[in-house]
Amino acid sequence: MTGASMQENYLQTFAKRIAGFIGVLFVLSLMIFVLARVVPGDPARIALGPSATQEQVDAMRLAMGLDEPVIKQYFAYIWNALHGDLGRSLISSRPVTREIAALLPATLELVIVTIVIMTLVAIPLGVVTARYRNSWIDNTGRFFSIVGVTMPSFLFAILLQLFAAYFLTDWPIIGRINHGLSPPVGPTGLLLVDSLVHGRLDVFTDAFQRVLFPALALAMSGIGQITRITRSAMIEHQRRDHVLTLQSFGVPDRVIVFSYLLKLSSIAPLTIMGLEFASLIGNAFVVELVFSWGGFASYGLEAILQKDLNAVMAVVLISGLFFIVANIVIDLILLVIDPRLRLKETN
């Protein structure tokens, strides 16, 4: 009997994933479009304000295409969206895409730093708590994980602010940058990257100090979850035969733990990290507000409060895109880590 030979197949697996994600994005856009049309409140009325006459509103409805059938409106919206036009803000009447483009890098920077903190803290913590299971290290880790998962991130944000205000009086905690430093512009819009590109260490330090606390507040819940998941994956795998094989031949424990077990045990937490992205964006809405971050998330919050429907739709769509891109990246990493995902059985 021959064993079925297995061949590596990156492209096929990956193409399937992308196709799936495009479908998700499509459904998402449909859902928010319908939602935006059924909520009470006439977009034309909101745009013009309460003092406008009915004739003005009717004229506006016509201009906005609101008297067309909904399905036609939807396809027009998608067509425009594909060309980078998500409509105009009902409040400021500027193109929504341009408004968001100006704010997106701030949020992107915050989220990236959050992910880095999450990974750097949670995975080693998971490994250590698994290694010293049921010791005081594990118990302390468990305590902080539960605190991280259960406490809402805005509470962390406020606590961290209070902490900084009392003990680190020189630490800047509000806003993204000291504008007196005249930060460099471009090429990425991410201050931490741009400042290094332009060799501006002073800007980098300031931006780093300011991003640290909001990112920490955002990271807490993820740290709690991922620590626990890494820990249980490590514990599950360290009982397996393959660990015994290496031990039997005297491969040192540190190699078994940090190389063999860690790679195998990182699959589950990475998957979770992709899902974590959704709550990350949701939490960013509030955390940005607490730290006056002035990013895309606070823009979204503003849009919701003012019933700026076009802006809300754009924010949801872009958040969805964010989530999907993050998951594509994670899927790609998983494909590299886990050969079983890309091996296809052939004879």
Binding site: G3, D241, L244, G250, V251, P339, N347
Partner: protein, 559 residues
């Protein structure tokens, strides 16, 4: 002969949640220089703990209470850690049991081999370059008959066949030419022909390199080929010890006797011939094929022919055996008969009516039931025996007191006491769990039961009891069995007719006596020849297999 390894009065206990479990009691055994010693015993007898104690890989909650393990006169238990670690892989090494789970699935085979060699080199104080290690690894891989070491090293574990992985496990233990080889049930997870090849390979390597062998196994047939001296272990104690021929011909302990008797004979006076059934055909299969196809998003689909043009008829009251190695299509045939999957082509009839018309109906489901291979995984661990049995009864439309009565009756039929109703699977032994699984299949009062390797996860003595139970139930209830297995010696005694499958086709079928005495197809001959047997007479009566046939049908050997 001088002793290479001596285990002297070893006592080991496990501590879990404040409870102390005494697993090894005063174990003493000696392995002479160049000798082949077997340690036999059933599940939980302490064989593997003994090997772990020798290797130094006991889990953290194990404690060595007393005793010594002398390697060439030095007590390894008294050695400092560094010195003891230096023995691993170089003085003694182990051939792991399960060829799949013994490799980390996300690392390439070559990485495993290289890491083992690199750290052993470091401990020996040798500096070695990657390229030089690669050369040495390739050499060892060729020694275990892996012809393309480059491909093997670049492969992930899941890309190799079971036989190839087992060879790599052997290579792993030979990287540094140890003096003692510990083999922990090598090949038991593999097909019988592959297992046979692996045994021959280990034997040859041991002889060529002058190694000593400690063979840990529950398969007495394997022992006959692989050992000169035997230790029998039970409940953590050595109960009997002596040379192979003596233990096999004149066992002193009742337990040893029982172990030997539990093995179904392949040839000779003790073989049971089952009466051929005279009833009408209850299952008829005519030219049935099954093709599995996957549909990728783009590109060409891939077709896999699992079953090809199979025809057979099972008579009422018969035990029909379907034999073959993994991947031969026997389970696929059973699943089609049960209506779980559709046939791609051909006709299946049960009781004269096409399966296609009956599948999914309650009456059909009640007619045919299945017992799975591993009762440990086929029973829901969170349900009591009673809850498990209640499910099929509820489907059969039974309510109230009738259910309780029926459950009691079922437990009686499978020889389990009444109060087992409230037990959970983890409270039962393997044999008891399988009895519950049989009771579950009986619950709906079926006519046909598919037995998918029902005893391969059990110890031989337990297997004997379960088979006796199945035989009795068949007589009492007039059941028809479709028995799927790769254990040919068991099938010889239990089945009234058998069919041999190879790559989706039936190559030979008939009454066991005729198939085993005069096998026609070369594959059948090769299959029978590979079955481990416990006596020389049986060995002599096995059919001869030419080298050419071996190459033609046992492809796995040295790919």
């Amino acid at each position: 002969m001088s002793e290479l390894l001596k285990v002297d009065g070893l006592d080991v206990s496990f501590h879990t949640y404040g409870r102390r479990l005494h697993v090894l009691k005063d174990v003493t055994l000696a392995i002479p220089q160049g000798g082949r010693v077997a340690l036999i015993g059933e599940t939980g007898s302490g064989k593997s703990v003994t090997s772990k104690a020798i290797l130094g890989t006991l889990p953290g909650n194990a404690k060595i209470e007393s005793g010594r393990i002398l390697f060439k006169g030095d007590d390894v238990l008294a050695m400092p850690r560094g010195k003891r670690d230096a023995l691993k892989g170089t003085a003694f090494s182990i051939i792991m049991q399960d060829p799949l789970s013994s490799f980390n699935p996300v690392f390439r085979i070559g990485r495993h081999l290289d890491d083992v060699m690199r750290f052993a080199d470091l401990r020996l104080g040798n500096r070695s370059s990657t390229a030089e290690r690669r050369q040495r690894i390739f050499e060892v891989l060729r020694k275990v008959q892996l012809a393309d070491p480059e491909r093997v090293c670049a492969a992930y574990p899941s890309q190799l066949s079971g036989g190839m992985r087992q060879r790599v496990l052997i290579a792993l233990s030979l990287l540094h030419q140890p003096q003692l080889l510990i083999a922990d049930e090598p090949g038991t997870a593999l097909d019988v022909t592959t297992q046979d090849e692996i045994m021959k390979l280990i034997n040859r390597l041991v002889a060529e390199n002058g190694l000593s062998l400690l063979m840990i196994t529950h398969n007495l047939g394997v022992v006959r080929q692989m050992a000169d001296e035997i230790y029998v272990m039970r409940h953590g104690e050595i109960v009997e010890h002596g040379p192979l021929s003596e233990i096999f011909s004149r066992p002193r302990q009742a337990y040893t006797r029982q172990l030997i008797d539990a093995i179904p004979p392949l040839y000779g006076a003790n073989v049971t011939d089952q009466e051929p059934a005279a009833g009408d055909a209850i299952v008829e299969i005519d030219g049935v094929s099954k093709v599995f196809e996957d549909r990728p998003l783009f590109g060409r689909g891939h077709r896999h022919v699992a079953v090809n043009d199979v025809s057979l008829a099972i008579r009422r009251g018969e035990v029909f055996g379907l034999a073959g190695e993994s991947g031969s299509g026997k389970t696929t045939v059973a699943r089609m008969i049960m209506g779980l999957i559709r046939a791609s082509d051909g006709k299946l009839r049960i009781d004269g009516k096409p399966v296609e018309e009956q599948r999914g109906s309650a009456a059909f489901r009640r007619k045919i039931q299945i017992v799975y291979q591993n009762p440990g995984t086929s029973l829901n661990p969170k349900r009591t025996v009673g809850q498990t049995l209640r499910v099929p009864l509820a489907f059969a439309g039974m309510r109230g007191k009738a259910v309780e009565d029926r459950i009691r009756e079922l437990l009686l039929q499978v020889d389990l006491p009444d109060h087992y109703v409230s037990k959970y699977p983890h409270e039962l032994s393997g044999g008891q769990k399988q009895r519950v699984a049989i009771a579950r299949a009986l619950a709906a009062d079926p006519e046909i039961i598919v037995l998918d390797e029902p005893t391969s996860a059990l110890d031989v003595s337990v297997q004997k009891n379960v088979i006796a139970l199945l035989t009795r139930l068949r007589e009492e209830l007039g059941l028809t069995y479709l028995f799927i297995s790769h254990d040919l010696s068991l099938m010889r005694n239990f089945c009234s007719r058998i069919a041999i499958m190879l790559r989706g086709e039936i190559v030979e079928a008939g009454e066991p006596r005729q198939v085993f005495e005069t096998p026609e197809h070369p594959y059948t001959r090769a299959l029978i020849a590979a079955v481990p047997v416990i006596s020389d007479e049986e060995e002599k009566r096995k059919p001869a297999v030419s080298d050419e046939d071996r190459r033609r049908y046992l492809v796995d050997t040295a790919a």
